[in-house]
Structure formats: C-alpha cells, structure tokens
C-alpha cells in the first residue's frame, strides 16, 4: 500500500505491506536504524518513536496507520554533529552503557519533557517503567532527565 509521511522533517513516499510495522518501515525502507527493535510486542520500549507529538511503540503501530503522520525518530532529535541538551545530560550522567535502549528512552523523554518541562522525578520514573534498561539501574537516566528540564523550560518560554 502506498503511504506518505513526514520523517524527521523530510517527506517520504513509500509502498509497504500492511503487516509492516512503523519501526520496520523506518529501519528497512528508510535506513533509519537508530530505532531499535527487541521484544516486538510492546513490552521493552526500545522502538519508541514520536508520532504526531506523542511517544508510541514503533512495533505496535502499523506503517499504514502512519499515513499522513509526522514521525520523529532518535535521528531527528539533534542537528548534524550536535547533541541536544537531553543527550548532553545523558553523556554527563553516564545514563547509558550498552546503548541498545537509549534511542527509545531519548524519544520517550523528549516527548515527556516537551509536554511538561516541570515533570517531577516520580512521574519520570513512572514513564520510564515502559522502557527496559538492563545496564544503568535507571538512576543516572532520571538524573539526566531532571537536569535537561531547564533546557526544555527555556525552549517552551516565549522569548523575553
């Protein structure tokens, strides 16, 4: 089936089988392999992407359902060669080790902090319960997210 969507600001027109998940479509048809797949049934959160502003499971969304949607993947968070303030905070706090889950956690936290730059630690932990990380123990991830709030607050404030 033919679909047209916007991925990281660029238009993409594709022909996909209905059974193709959005995560597989991004990886195989568009070469955006930053979106990782592990469980493929909605438990691990590695495939989290942002569709029309909301963080969703890439493995539980069909590519055909995303016809007309705006999609942001981990590749779309930063400009060329730069890191976003959230990514900088991840580096500073050692919020990753093997890195497999990191793409899904960055997209999840980006969506969360964009919605609510004042989010508290408890809610960050509740949201992260949907992303499995077996390296870090989550503490540095929560610290990085808390630190990144300041940058999201600045971004959401109207210019003085």
């Amino acid at each position: 089936m033919k679909i047209a969507l916007t991925v990281n600001g660029r238009p993409a027109a594709l022909d996909v089988a209905p059974r193709t998940t959005l995560a597989d479509c991004l990886r195989h048809a568009l070469g955006l392999t930053g979106t990782h797949l592990a469980c493929e049934h909605g438990v691990c959160g590695a495939c989290t992407i942002i569709v029309d502003g909301a963080a969703v499971r890439g493995c539980l969304t069909l590519a055909v359902q995303a016809d007309g949607a705006e999609v942001t993947t981990v590749e779309g968070l930063a400009g060329d060669g730069d890191l976003t303030p959230l990514q900088e905070a991840f580096r500073r706090h050692h919020a990753l080790q093997c890195g497999f889950c990191t793409a899904g956690i960055l997209t999840t936290l980006h969506a969360l902090l964009s919605e609510n730059p004042d989010v508290e630690a408890d809610e960050i932990r509740e949201v992260l319960s949907g992303n499995i990380c077996r390296c870090t123990g989550y503490i540095p991830i929560v610290e990085a997210a808390l630190e990144a709030r300041a940058a999201y607050r600045r971004a959401s404030d109207p210019a003085p």
Binding site: P18, T21, H41, L112
Partner: protein
C-alpha cells in the same frame, strides 16, 4: 515475531466498515489503537485476514459530560481520559483506574473501545464499565443496539459482539455529588497486567452506606460485581469493621483464576486486602476533600 500477513482497509464511514466486516465472515478484526491486537497477532494468538482501521471514521472520539450521562467515544485513548479535567471531576474513579493501564507510550494509543472488545479479564476499563453500569452503543451491518457492559463481556477475551459489529461509544450514568469510590490494584511491576484489582463506589445515607457497588478484575475470568460484598456494606457505617466484613465476603464469594503468575488462594487473599485498603482510602479521600 513479525506480524502474520493480512489485508488492510481504512474506511471513512461506519456503513463501509460494517459492510467490510460482514463480507469477511469472521476473518476480519477491527483495529483502533492496536495495543492489544498487534501483540496478539505477533504471538499468533490471532491471525485475521483483514484489519479494518477505524481512524478515519468521524464521531468516534470525544468525551461529553452531560447532565444525565457521560459519553465516551470508542476511539477515546487512555491519554484523553487522564488529561480530562471534566472526567476527573465527574467520574474520578475512571482516571484513577486508567492510571494503572500499561505504560506511557501505550496509553498514548490504546483506546477504550479496543479494551472492551479485547475483553482481557485483567483490563481496568471493562471493570469500571461493569461496576458503573455503563451502556455500550454498538453498530452492525443490521443496525444499532445498546447493551449493558456486563452483557458485552462473555468470558476471558470473549464478547457477545457479532462479527460485523463495532463499538461506537460507552455511556456512564452521572454520579450524585459526594459519591465515594475505591480502586486498588496489584501487579508484579507497575504497568503489568493486574494479578488482582478491585473497584467500588457508594453513597452516604446519613451515617450509613447506600448503593454500594463492588467489582473485581484480574482475579476472576471476567470483571464482575460481587453482590455479597455490596450487601456487607449497605446499611452499615463506614469503618474498619464494615470494610473488613466486606473484604472477607468478597474473598469468599469469588472463584479465582489460576495461572503461572499466581494461584487461586493468593488471588483470593489479594482481593480481600485490596478491597479493605481501597475502602479505607475512600474515607481518607473524603476527609481530605472536606478540609
């Protein structure tokens, strides 16, 4: 696993959608958020030949809080329920229960119509619909009908919906002012399916409890009211003795399920503990609101 192959249709009207379902003679499934159906397909617990997507059909979204009832479109997502200030006031039990549904990303896509049609005995929404006596509006190739939520759910993962029928809305009666409520759930990890959960609501008639309703989910093969626990509450003063008696009555009355997560005796005990805890919290909440 990757999904099995299927055809996909995205009709713009309910007429087209029900016609497609009727034509498929049971080999089609409706997809809304897909948060239960797609994992089922990944596990090959379902392999429909056709998916009929509801996303382009108008009139299936929206939360309307009217004087008599609250109407929730079938495509209302968990996120919409949690974000609704009107619902937090008019039916606070619902967002409290929906806060236990899965995870952030799933709550952004999962819908209440999908949850009802999936009829997982450990799902929160069907339990609240049964507890509150909600009505479900359904459209099929032959027309519309309305049925009580309790009549929709036939068994674990089983409904009385026809092959061509689509849930379009769920309607909850409005609550009187001051109705108290309880919800408590136990799962191994936050966001996992409930091993047991209880929901309850009641009014105060002077110093006594009236119109008590108690429902159990996760511990039984369908979400269900527990009249024995309701009888133990009605006409009594709220307090530890009354709540303890109701909790014991609920534990004794249910026929708990068993699976690899928990045995029947454990689920029976959990239901009592959760109900006692939930009912106690219903009083604390009332006191805090009054202050």
């Amino acid at each position: 696993m990757k999904l099995p192959a299927f055809d996909y249709a995205c009709p713009r009207t309910l007429e087209e959608a029900t016609a497609l379902l009727a034509e498929a003679c049971g080999d089609a499934k409706v997809i809304a958020g897909g948060q239960s159906l797609l994992p089922f397909m990944a596990f090959r617990l379902a392999a429909p030949g056709l998916l009929v997507d509801l996303r382009k059909i108008a009139g299936l979204t929206g939360i309307e809080v009217g004087d008599e009832e609250i109407r929730l479109g079938a495509m209302v997502r968990w996120r919409d329920i949690l974000d609704s200030a009107a619902l937090a006031h008019a039916l606070p039990l619902l967002p409290a229960a929906i806060g236990h549904v899965a995870h952030y990303q799933i709550r952004n896509r999962g819908t209440l119509g999908g949850s009802l049609a999936h009829a997982d005995p450990a799902s929160e929404f069907p339990c609240i619909a049964v507890l509150c006596g909600a009505s479900v509006d359904v459209v099929g190739a032959g027309g519309r009908r309305t049925l009580p939520a309790g009549d929709l759910i036939a068994g674990p993962m089983e409904t009385t919906l026809g092959d061509d029928e689509i849930i379009v809305a769920v309607r909850f009666p409005r609550w009187p002012e001051g109705r108290r409520w309880a919800f408590d759930e136990f799962a191994l990890r936050h966001g996992d399916l409930a091993i047991a959960a209880v929901a309850a609501c009641y009014d105060m008639d002077g110093p006594h409890i009236a119109n008590a309703r108690v429902a159990v989910m996760g511990a039984t093969d369908t979400p269900q009211r527990v009249p024995e626990a309701e009888d133990a509450l009605n006409g009594r003063a709220p307090g530890d003795d009354t709540f303890g008696t109701a909790a014991e009555a609920a534990s004794a009355a249910i026929e708990p399920t068993e699976d690899l997560h928990a045995g029947a005796a454990y689920r029976r005990a959990l239901v009592g503990t959760l109900l006692r805890r939930g009912l106690r919290a219903s009083c604390t909440r009332q006191r805090e609101a009054a202050e």
